[in-house]
Point group: C4
Chain length 219, copies 4
Amino acid sequence: MTEQLISVSSAQDGAWKTAVTQIIRAGERMDQRGWVPATAGNISVRLADGRIAVTRSGGHKGFLTPEGVIEIDLTGNPLLPGDRPSAETLLHCQIYAHFPHTGAVLHGHSIAATVLSMRTKERALYLADYEVLKVFEGQSTHATRVAVPIFSNDQDIARLARSVSLFLDEMKAGYIIQGHGVYVWGPDMDTALARLEGLEFLLACELERLKLSPSFQGM
Amino acid sequence: MTEQLISVSSAQDGAWKTAVTQIIRAGERMDQRGWVPATAGNISVRLADGRIAVTRSGGHKGFLTPEGVIEIDLTGNPLLPGDRPSAETLLHCQIYAHFPHTGAVLHGHSIAATVLSMRTKERALYLADYEVLKVFEGQSTHATRVAVPIFSNDQDIARLARSVSLFLDEMKAGYIIQGHGVYVWGPDMDTALARLEGLEFLLACELERLKLSPSFQGM
Amino acid sequence: MTEQLISVSSAQDGAWKTAVTQIIRAGERMDQRGWVPATAGNISVRLADGRIAVTRSGGHKGFLTPEGVIEIDLTGNPLLPGDRPSAETLLHCQIYAHFPHTGAVLHGHSIAATVLSMRTKERALYLADYEVLKVFEGQSTHATRVAVPIFSNDQDIARLARSVSLFLDEMKAGYIIQGHGVYVWGPDMDTALARLEGLEFLLACELERLKLSPSFQGM
Amino acid sequence: MTEQLISVSSAQDGAWKTAVTQIIRAGERMDQRGWVPATAGNISVRLADGRIAVTRSGGHKGFLTPEGVIEIDLTGNPLLPGDRPSAETLLHCQIYAHFPHTGAVLHGHSIAATVLSMRTKERALYLADYEVLKVFEGQSTHATRVAVPIFSNDQDIARLARSVSLFLDEMKAGYIIQGHGVYVWGPDMDTALARLEGLEFLLACELERLKLSPSFQGM
């Protein structure tokens, strides 16, 4: 049965192949920017039929192959019993469950996200007056302030997910796990990648501004 | 009629193809440097016959295809009614109208331009004593000072364009929109790209000098 | 006899070819990140049969060819008398001798490792609370502190190796030679590269945090 | 006669083709690192027969073609009357005249070289205790201090060359023109590129150390 599932997935399944290709290319893109160091980061796509494709645990996300992408259900369980999905799969599933139109979720680690989240006493980073804020859903002007919530890191992912769930409806640009990285999503991979790129650009700007003015950002 | 226009443009129009290729490659180049994050930035070329090719609104400028470039007239109206040109098209057209010899206009977002423009109380950034100043039109020495005007960001592009128009004749190296990015132009794409690269190199130097000396640049 | 050795190595030796390819690609990867400037850095692999492949002295590690990789024994002596292995070969051999399961050793130079090691008065850098710490052997949480020992640079490699040997068992993430670079290893090349990437990511974060707060890291 | 010269150069002249290829690849390499912004920088090679190949004035050194490289003599005069060599050609020729074994000269612009040279009150930058110092001629240890002289920028290249000539014999790692860039050379292109890379790596380290400690480097 397993072999039949594999052969359907790999030989005839155009939608699956497309999803896998998007994930591989997203990993390459994130790797070029240095956002998937070591084996960190994870990437997922929800197909039109509801299946979820996510990166397998442990591999380097910059050099994915089709074997590095597995199928899970909305509760995070792998389709094939031997598969181990990415450790943070529950965080991906939580977003898909909460937002019916989400088609892709990206998790990356950047120096800016790591450093800013470890420095601040605040419970969020605040991004204001940047043109690039317009890449986030519902934002049509630079003249606004967007909060990016910060959650303490936690190896108990289920517990971390419960903290995150309280704030999902407020999130305009994704969220940050302290000393860890960002979670960003969108209706499709292109939008999710654009939002990740936009968020990381703004975090890099914030880090530079903080270097110029230590009192910046209430830190 | 629309189909006829498309087939002329795409199949027989060597000048158009060249312009599109230049725009695609400029986007790739700007993306390598991180100057077109998310869907930000825009790029245009004026052909010898006066037609203007500009990037379509919303796409990622680092991964353009020929479909991502559309034709507009000097007032910013798209040739094909369904097309949406880049949001800041008026700023491109303004430059083409004001400077008859301009053949390409580039708009990018860099961390340096964003951070420096958000920090200064001055109405321009001043670049002095750099060898690279010689890349700008009319500059033949490093022993000079070039002003790069900063305009407040404004979602009303027509209003922003009116502010810009007052200073166009003075501009030696393009201009900056605060918290947004730079506008640079030249008689052809190669020159425009060289000037963009030169300006961004100098802004990066300025940002580093500011980190070493907070009183630098009157900030 | 020499010719026979070369022809066995190059024409029929699949395991050797694989090791050489891994070394070449590791060099390219390290070069993309700027970790093998000039002719600095060195890379080795221990094959299943115990042979050790190491980069030849003097070449640029970003542009290796098969001729740039030579065979040495566990004491650092080259198989072919005319070959000159990398100057720091003894440091590679020391790790292979001490850790029977090590399959690859990487040495790179980064700005962060160089600057941090030259600034601190401490005898190690301490990395704490980062998610990426989980890339190192035996680390399963971010909520920990890992020490990366710093050794004074020394052109007498044998003497440097003796200092290093005293601390090898304690090392969780490799070590740093002051003003020089890092040594990282793993059971295979992929793991070694992941650990190098993880360490350099964390050192880059530490450098940024130090810029924000000069009292950070006891420096 | 001109046509004959061109056809000998381009069709039958293997040594010339090799030199041109080295220059093109050096430009690409320098461009990847951001060291030839806009049309800045220049590159030359001296062939075994004494001919000198140098980049033509004005082109982007990251995208050279064979047409972008011309022949000059040791006094800087182009072989073909219509050719305009790089503006700083005399600085290349000076090095070839002074050092009979020099086979390649590189001039690039980096943020670190520009910023450090504009900040210091000293007449040189001093690099000490770095392992990478060993890439420079005659250096066999990190435990040393190498001076990199800084010359004020000057559009009168002949005058600048006279200042440089007084110090050529002392130079261990090339020199810097203030607010402009570095000059580095070696017996062949690979060595020159390695020394350029080594110098720029060290200047980048110095800039980072300066950010951590404003009293560093006597600045």
